[in-house]
């Protein structure tokens, strides 16, 4: 049974890309089962799915039935799908923030430009829904930023610009992390799906053999 050893060590290297190198304390058990189906977790504790190289050898090694394996795989598939949809909505929220910050940044930069040129801005601004008023904005040193939780803080233009640029970068960084996790989770879901359908096929063949034998 040479393949038995490879079955237990056949972790997905693709998943390893984002996975922490030292995750040895992780037992790899599927929650609620005593089957070691999971491989190293990444920095956000997302476990990878093992690719079952040889189903017969894997079942023997984990001493479990095909039925339990199918149940454990189905559980993990559900978990990956749940993670996927949670991440999708998180990422969407992150993406929605981006144009908001970009608009603020453009406004602050326009004020900076006006200050540099010592020019007065002729603006038409929204004072209420569908109501606009005109205002001349003389060169200004400061601008107020809405920080949320009912707090408005006045900053020098350059500081305001730096702050907005930083939060824009933060949003982009977070989005990149969600992208990476999403890719990882979807990959694990596909591996789980393939494991599932192969285990299912194995189950069918087993039953058929039992019937005919």
């Amino acid at each position: 049974m040479a393949s038995a050893a490879s079955a237990s060590t056949a972790l997905s290297p693709a998943a390893g890309a984002g996975a922490a190198a030292s995750d040895e304390s992780f037992d790899g058990l599927v929650p609620g089962y005593s089957i070691r189906l999971l491989g190293p977790r990444n920095a956000r504790n997302i476990p990878t799915m093992k690719f079952i190289d040889d189903i017969v050898a894997f079942l023997k090694e984990e001493s479990c039935t095909t039925e339990t394996l199918l149940q454990a795989l189905t559980t993990m598939h559900g978990k990956y799908k749940m993670m996927e949809s949670a991440m999708l909505s998180n990422r969407q929220r992150m993406q929605a923030k981006q144009p908001e910050i970009e608009r603020s940044l453009a406004a602050v930069r326009r004020l900076q430009k006006a200050k540099a040129e010592d020019a007065t801005l002729d603006t038409t601004f929204n004072i209420s829904d569908n109501v606009f008023a005109r205002a001349d904005v003389p060169p200004t040193e400061t601008v107020c930023l809405w920080l949320g939780v009912n707090v408005l803080v006045e900053y020098p233009l350059d500081e305001a610009e730096a702050m907005l640029a930083e939060s824009l970068q933060q949003v982009k960084d977070k989005e990149a992390i969600y992208d990476e996790d999403l890719r990882l989770v979807r990959e694990q879901a596909i591996t789980t799906e393939v494991n599932l359908s192969r285990s299912f096929n194995h189950d069918v063949q087993e039953r058929r053999r039992a019937k005919s034998g």
Partner: protein, 141 residues
């Protein structure tokens, strides 16, 4: 938006074993497929932005003809700022350039993805035949 790549319970008696290298190809195919869906949405939104900018360019030209200048306002942040002719033209040009570059990048990536997916399709169908299904319902190619 997510299109799984399921293996059909094989109807054929001969079961082709799935190797780790096959699994990696299936995963790569699935990942590319997702990326393609995202890129297509991005391309649509960029194309709309480009049309809007073309409209803006035309509107600026018309305002010039009417001698209404400098009555063109540019939406910055939540308010409108009256800008002079040159500034508006420069603004529209810079935005058009930015959107075009993004569109070209997205198109180039889509082409790369289509090429790679074609390769993977060939390899996977070659190995698994009818036991694997790699088509999208919304595929128009």
């Amino acid at each position: 938006m997510y299109n799984p790549v399921p293996l059909r319970p094989s109807e054929v008696e001969v079961d082709i074993p799935v190797r780790w290298e096959d699994q990696k190809q299936i995963n790569e195919f699935g990942g590319l497929n997702n990326r393609r869906v995202e890129l297509r949405a991005k391309v649509d939104s960029l194309k709309k932005q480009l049309t809007d900018l073309e409209d803006a360019e035309e509107a600026v030209l018309m305002a010039e003809d009417d001698g209404e200048n400098p009555a063109v306002m540019v939406a910055i942040g939540e308010s409108f700022v009256t800008e002079d002719d040159d500034a508006v033209t420069a603004f529209v040009e810079a935005e058009t350039e930015r959107v075009k570059t993004a569109l070209d990048d997205a198109d180039a990536e889509l082409t790369r993805i289509a090429d790679r997916m074609g390769e993977l399709k060939k390899a996977l169908y070659g190995r698994f035949g009818k036991a694997i299904h790699l088509e999208n319902d919304d595929d128009d190619e």
